[in-house]
């Protein structure tokens, strides 16, 4: 089912006309109300009246995460403070947090786009949504919550953690849709096994997984172990939280709610806008928000866009699942490597699971030493050292062939790599550059 067929399957020309009208309105509003944007425009010699077509968006200066931090907390507020009804901030693990302040208009948009996303993943009225995303300042939990209420689903607001109780609730209330991070879903299957709970006996049909990068191989593993269809969801606090885009039943990319969030792909080095199909950094402009709308926000996420009718009935532009982040991209001895590539290679090796960690250090030779720690799973453990060494060698060879870099493989004890409830720590970079 499609939540809002009028918007999600709208004729492209009609959609573009409204996107342009919304963009013009947004630019004028921000220029007049937010000194930060006026200064940026003036410095570049750009006036709101210069925006006459959607392509003119390229004239608008980018906004970065640093801009958001420097204007913390309310420097980008485009509405009156009294109009704000809810505030979220992103986890400030790397510095000052960034803020999303929602007016009632923004809350309505959020509930709308999240309803669309949940429905893309097969949720309907009558479904029981078990929400394993954290509630609170993190947008994941409440975003799913508002969308589920909008559809009229029964939502179990269990949040993150307490895995045994999660599984009991899932069994007792016959949850049909699970929302959580992909790594947490795999952790759940481990706990279920310890509890003697058969995942096949549960009623789950869909899992909506996001908030951290994951691969197609990990999707297969989750689907096999959880007996459900896995859907990728994408969003970020700076834009609205979850609800920016979601996979549909076709699994051929994530439909972006582009009538609200206008996407562009740029060359991360030059800022030049790239055509559809080319890989680059994803940039968003929130066309319709009124609290803290944002112009040309650089997400640092790497992907590409594809347009056209989708067999699901929608024609919203699709973004490929994330290839990595401009800042997660490791440069190892001059070669670009994404953690997702390492995960894929491990999944292809029959003996190994994607339970890994990468430690980068600069050795005495001043070259980058990369240690790939892989957990020894019971199924590939052998009483003979040569068998383990053979697997270690197999991993090293596959990495060398596919990535073009030599990694030192270190086999480690199972569960010695931290499995987090939220985001998995995959890369430890000890280099001081």
């Amino acid at each position: 089912m499609i939540w809002n067929a009028v918007r999600e399957s709208e004729a492209p020309e009609k959609r573009r006309t409204r996107q342009l009208a919304d963009l013009k309105d947004l630019v004028a509003r921000l220029y007049n109300r937010v000194p930060f944007y006026k200064e940026r425009f003036d410095a570049q010699g750009v006036k709101p009246s210069d925006i006459q077509s959607l392509e003119d968006i390229a004239k608008i200066p980018f906004t970065t995460k640093d801009d958001l931090r420097e204007t913390y907390p309310y420097g980008l507020l485009a509405s009156g403070e009294e109009e704000i009804v809810e505030v979220h901030t992103s986890s400030g693990t790397t510095g000052t947090p960034v803020v999303d302040a929602y007016t009632q208009n923004d809350m309505d948009i959020w509930a709308e786009v999240m309803a669309r996303c949940l429905m893309m993943a097969g949720a309907e009225r009558g479904d029981v949504i078990q929400n394993g995303y954290g509630y609170g300042l993190f947008t994941g939990g409440l975003g799913v919550h508002y969308g589920a209420h909008n559809i009229g689903c029964n939502i179990i607001p269990v949040g993150g953690g307490n895995t045994e109780r999660q599984l009991q609730l899932m069994r007792d209330f016959e949850s049909t849709v699970l929302t959580c991070t992909p790594s947490y879903s795999l952790y759940m299957t481990e706990v279920a096994k310890e509890m003697g709970l058969e995942m096949a006996d549960l009623k789950l049909k869909s899992g909506i997984f996001g908030a951290e990068p994951w691969s197609d191989n990990m999707r297969r593993e989750i689907e096999e172990k959880m007996y459900l269809t896995a859907y990728d969801i994408y969003g970020l606090t700076e834009i609205i939280g979850p609800g920016v885009s979601n996979e549909c039943s076709e699994h051929n990319g994530l439909h972006i709610n582009e009538d609200h969030f206008y996407p562009e792909i740029i060359n991360p080095e030059t800022g030049e806008v790239l055509p559809d199909g080319e890989k680059g950094e994803l940039v968003f402009t929130t066309l319709t928000k009124t609290g803290t709308p944002i112009l040309r926000y650089r997400t640092r996420d790497i992907t590409w866009l594809e347009r056209g009718e989708c067999a699901c009935g929608r024609n919203l532009v699709r973004m490929h699942r994330l290839l990595g982040r401009t800042d997660d991209m490791m440069i190892i001895r001059g070669v670009n490597v994404f953690p997702s590539q390492i995960e894929n290679i491990l999944m292809e090796i029959e003996e190994t699971q994607p339970h890994y960690q990468i430690v980068i250090d600069r050795g005495q030779s001043h070259l980058d030493d990369v240690e790939l720690r892989v957990e020894v799973e019971p199924q590939f453990f052998s009483d003979e050292t040569k068998q383990l060494e053979r697997i270690s060698q197999k991993i090293a060879t596959a990495m060398k062939n596919k990535l073009g870099v030599n990694l030192q493989i270190k086999l480690v004890e199972p569960k010695s790599i931290e499995r987090s409830m939220g985001k998995a720590k995959r890369v430890i970079d000890k280099r001081t550059l």
């Binding site: 019971p378 453990f381 009483d383 060494e389």
Partner: protein
């Protein structure tokens, strides 16, 4: 003759072996044989115990990767050349030995050696045919 060996994966880090032995002691598991095969990066601890199934479960519960393997425990005369005789028997009959180690505190004039061979069935038959059939006293 045929006995069950428990092997445990260990990272090469300080105190790991002490942890395992302490764990086994706390569960009143006594070791009849213990040996470590190690490489620069990791080690495999191999154990012969009275109750292999329970020992494996204790280790798995504590989060270790452990598995059972069938090996041959051979009781032989405690005199020069005894091991050489068994080795020759295996070699002549193309039974490949992956590794071997001795059992702690052999009793009386017998010495017990554990053999991990490629073809267990064949090794077992050969030993029986050649008079090595005293069961291991655990």
């Amino acid at each position: 003759m045929k006995v069950t060996q428990i092997s445990v994966f260990m990272e090469n880090k300080n105190g790991r072996l002490a942890e395992i032995t302490k764990l086994l002691a706390s569960k009143k598991i006594s070791l009849r044989a213990v040996t470590i095969a190690d490489t620069a990066d990791f080690g495999i601890l191999r154990l012969i115990v009275k109750e292999p199934d329970r020992t494996r479960d204790v280790l798995l519960e504590a989060g270790f990767t452990a598995r059972e393997t069938d090996v041959l425990a051979v009781a032989m005369e405690d005199k020069p050349g005894a091991l050489a005789d068994v080795m020759e028997l295996f070699e002549k009959n193309n039974v490949n030995i992956e590794y071997l180690y001795s059992i702690l505190a052999g009793k009386g004039d017998k010495a017990d050696i554990v053999f991990r061979v490629e073809d267990l069935e064949r090794g077992q038959i050969l030993l029986k045919q050649n008079g090595y059939n005293r069961p291991l006293d655990l």
